[in-house]
Structures are given as structure tokens and as C-alpha cells.
Symmetry: C2
Subunit: 286 residues, 2 copies
């Protein structure tokens, strides 16, 4: 197991935020993440864990600095892991040319196309490797109580990861998520490039495995999902988010709230941040 | 009175944050600021106003994005004005060469030295011009109820402005402020450059008019001052802040709290942000 290198640490809320770096086997590259741990956490009294997945162009700092999650997480006694949004420095041709693909745009999937598959495996990083590395580090985190949330591309990540892994996460929530990426521009662009689709269906089944609206249809068991979308979100207006497709599945336990006047920014996120942390706390501490 | 040009606007908390631009006569340049107004505000029911002054290298966005003030301000029904930290594009020789002087480092004073005096007048901008411009704009703000707070250089600004203008502000608070700038490196550097000091005293009286520890000694009336400083603040260790000089004045109504383990960052600020907003609310809504 690779050693975690401490890059920086700041006291915040009722605990501290530490930035770690380690050589990721999923990404075949070093990666960084931030970890907030309330001071109540200890190996003998571990705290539940919430993953926050950020959106396009963001990194491991964005949610930690602008999300306003930490005071509520500290109060609730919940740790938060903030992964990066893609590998960095993979050297794939064109990876820095388009903000919607490549660097800062990993889409929380495992790439299968020849060009991207060596490094672009954020799904494995978030779902498997980070929990393993953190368990090993013995930091007072309880990986039997984990939830996941995110914003925009990270909202897609949080919902799809939750739905693909029944029982692994207690709850999922999202701010302005891309709910139907197999049919909307960001997702189609990402899936076309990252995924080696051989099926003839349209969209290909390789895409549907990462589409939350599709995954929700066959999701068994109780869903614990909260989604907030601002009515003035430009990406909603441009058809990137499509929360209605998620809502139309009609699954119990999925709440989609349209928030009047809010946009796609962290001002929107920070407003509802305490409610989302409280939503997860309800399931993580049940 | 110059017209306020709306640069952008975001719904946040119980209201909205709007970025404005206008030609400042204090700065002889256009300047930008952010204004948070809770939706409860109206010309017939105006809300109290809190000024937030940011630190070195920051601008009008820093506190709005990273400070975590807005949820509490919205709940309390208080507006917050976030000015910039200096003029931008003044064209003074060397103004972009040193992060401690010039751009991003206006020190909330009125410059008197030949080189800087045309543009570097952040004191007049904050104390006189912004309130006038905002009153004229009729945005539902009550300028009979105003308080002021800030961080680092902006903490110096908030305390010195409060102390120089008895009765104009209800309360003042600061995160990691430079409390004794006439004797500490940032302040000495700024005052040496910005101020045309002709008195022979040491420090010159021209410097002491912006030194909170000095101003507090002759402050009449009730002081309402709260200061938080982290014990792990590198600038505290380097002697830039000197909160003890402020404390040693022994003035009633001045609370200086050393916060164990916290540093100089916005992680520190965001942790105590709700307490500071609540502190001001007590006086603004008395």
C-alpha cells in the first residue's frame, strides 16, 4: 500500500483539513486529495465518511474552500474526502485543449479507449482505491458508513457511483448534476472519447452504465437521493443537466428540488451545503 | 453621483450577491465591489450593513467566496459590502512588483506621498465614498447601522477605521489583524511608501493615525471589538500581527481570542465566520 504524503494541513471547523498525495495505481500517476476529519475521530471511535466530487475545471481544493461544508460536517462529526477531478499530467494528446475533456474532466469513469485508459480511471480511484488507502492509513474513518455527493460533473459521479454500488453508500446527493449524460452534450463528448463502445444500441450500453437516469430504473432497494438544481442555471437551460429525466423514473426516495433563482455557482452550493450535509448525516448516523 | 454598473449577480443564502463597478473619485479609477443583500431588504425596510475588508493579495471576491459569511448574514438579515483591496491599474511604478505594496495592498489609508496619492485612497473609498454611492442607489441599506470587519491587512483596516470614526460604526471585528502596523514590517513598509511623514517623532504621527493599538489608547466611549488570532498563524510568529499590543491597552469591550491550532487561512476565517457575523448582529440590531 502506498504511503500518504502530507502536503499541507489546516485547522478548520471542529477538526482539520489535510492535503495528501500518493501514487495512485488506478491513475498510474500521483494524485492529491483533501481530507477533513473532525477532531472527535479516532481509530477507536471512527467517524462516517462523505465523498465530495467536484465539477469540470475544479480540483481537490474547490469544494473545501468554497463549498461551506466544513462547519456543518464538524458539527455532525462527519469526515469529508475531496478527490481531484481527473489525473494530472497524463500527457494524453489534447488533454489540456478542452475544459470539457481531459484534465479537470475525468467524469468519474474508467476509460476503455486505447488513448485514455491508462490514466483516466477516476471511478476506480474514488470507489476502490481511496477507501483502501484511507483504511490502511488508520485515520479514524469508518468505511462501513459512507455517503457521496457532488456538483455538476461531480453530481453525475456521485449519483452514478451510488446507483452502481447498491449497499456501499448510505445516501447520495447532488448540486446541479448531469443526470442523463448518455444523451446530453458533456456526457456524450466524454463517453465518445473515453469509452470504447462496441454495442450497437443507441446509446451504447457502455455509456448507460454511467448514466444515473438509466441506472435508477433498475436500482433495487431503498434510494436515499437528494438533488438541488437552480432554476437560473445556464447549464440547465442548455440541456446539460436534465433533472427531470431522473425525476420521471418515479423512484421513491429520490427528491429533486428546483431552487428558484439560483445558478450553477458555488454561491448556490454554499447556500444548501448545510442541508446536504444534514441529509447525509441522517443516514450515516442512523 | 456615478451610476453603479452591475457586473454580475448570484442568488445566495437568503438574498443575492451583486458585483458592481463604478468610477471612484477617491481612487481616480473605476473600482469593483461585491454586495450581499438579504431578500428581506427594501427601501421601506432597510437592513444594517457590514463592511468586510480583505487582506493582502485578495480582492472583492475573496471574502464572498471563501469566508462563509453569507448564510449567517442572510439569517440575521444583514447586508455585507466587500470592497477591493486597492486600486487596480493605477500605473504607479513598481505597484505590481511586491505583494506587500501597491496592487492588492492598499492598506485602507489615504496616501500622501507624491507617488501614490492620486490613486491609493482606500480609506476614503471605504469610509466615505462607498456609503454615499450605496445610499444614493437606494438598495434597502440602512447606513445608520453599520459595522466593519476584516482579515489581516483588512483586519487592520477594520479596527483602525472603527477607532478613527467614533459613532460611525456600531462594532468592529477582525481575523488575524495587523494590530500595531506602525511598528511591524508590513505596516512600516506601507506607511514609509504611502505616507509623507514630516513629524520627527518615531513612529511619525502620520503613521500613528492608522495604528489601532495607538488609536485605541485615546478612544472615547464604549468599544465593541472582537479579534480572533490563530496560535499557528505564521504571520503571528513573524511579528506582523501583535494582538498583545492591542490587548495591553486594557480597554473594556475589546476581546482578543487566541484560537488554538488555527493559521492565517480562510479555513480559519470560515470557522469563526458565523460567530463574527453574530457579534455584529448583536450591535447592529440592538
Amino acid at each position: 500500500m502506498p504511503a500518504l504524503e502530507k502536503v499541507s494541513s489546516n485547522r478548520v471547523s471542529t477538526g482539520s483539513l489535510t492535503k495528501y498525495k500518493f501514487p495512485s495505481s488506478s491513475l498510474s500517476l500521483p494524485t492529491q486529495f483533501n481530507l477533513f476529519v473532525p477532531s472527535s475521530a479516532s481509530p477507536s471511535s471512527p467517524v462516517p465518511v462523505l465523498f465530495y466530487l467536484a465539477g469540470l475545471t475544479c480540483n481537490e481544493d474547490t469544494g473545501a474552500q468554497k463549498g461551506a461544508f466544513l462547519n456543518k460536517a464538524g458539527e455532525e462529526g462527519i469526515a469529508i474526502v475531496f478527490p481531484d477531478t481527473s489525473p494530472r499530467g497524463a500527457g494524453v494528446e489534447g488533454e489540456d485543449d478542452d475544459w470539457q475533456l481531459g484534465t479537470g474532466a475525468g467524469f468519474y469513469l474508467n476509460a476503455t479507449s486505447e488513448k485514455w485508459k491508462k490514466h483516466y480511471n477516476m471511478y476506480d480511484l474514488v470507489v476502490k482505491e481511496l477507501p483502501e488507502v484511507l483504511k490502511e492509513a488508520d485515520l479514524g474513518l469508518d468505511f462501513s458508513r459512507v455517503s457521496i455527493f457532488g456538483h455538476s460533473m461531480g453530481g453525475h459521479g456521485a449519483l452514478s457511483i451510488y446507483l452502481k454500488n447498491p449497499g456501499q453508500y448510505k445516501s447520495s446527493s447532488a448540486f446541479a448534476p448531469a443526470c442523463n449524460p448518455s444523451k446530453t452534450p458533456w456526457g456524450v463528448n466524454a463517453f465518445t472519447n473515453y469509452l470504447n463502445a462496441v454495442t450497437r444500441s443507441s446509446p451504447p450500453s457502455e455509456w448507460l452504465q454511467y448514466d444515473s437516469s438509466h441506472l435508477l430504473q433498475s436500482f433495487k432497494g431503498d434510494a436515499h437521493i437528494l438533488v438541488d438544481v437552480g432554476t437560473e442555471d445556464d447549464f440547465l437551460k442548455k440541456g446539460q443537466l436534465e433533472p427531470k429525466t431522473l425525476e420521471r423514473v418515479g423512484k421513491e426516495g429520490v427528491e429533486v428540488r428546483m431552487q428558484e433563482g439560483f445558478d450553477h455557482s458555488y454561491y448556490f452550493i454554499s447556500t444548501f451545503a448545510p442541508e446536504h450535509v444534514a441529509f447525509h448525516a441522517k443516514y450515516l448516523k442512523a
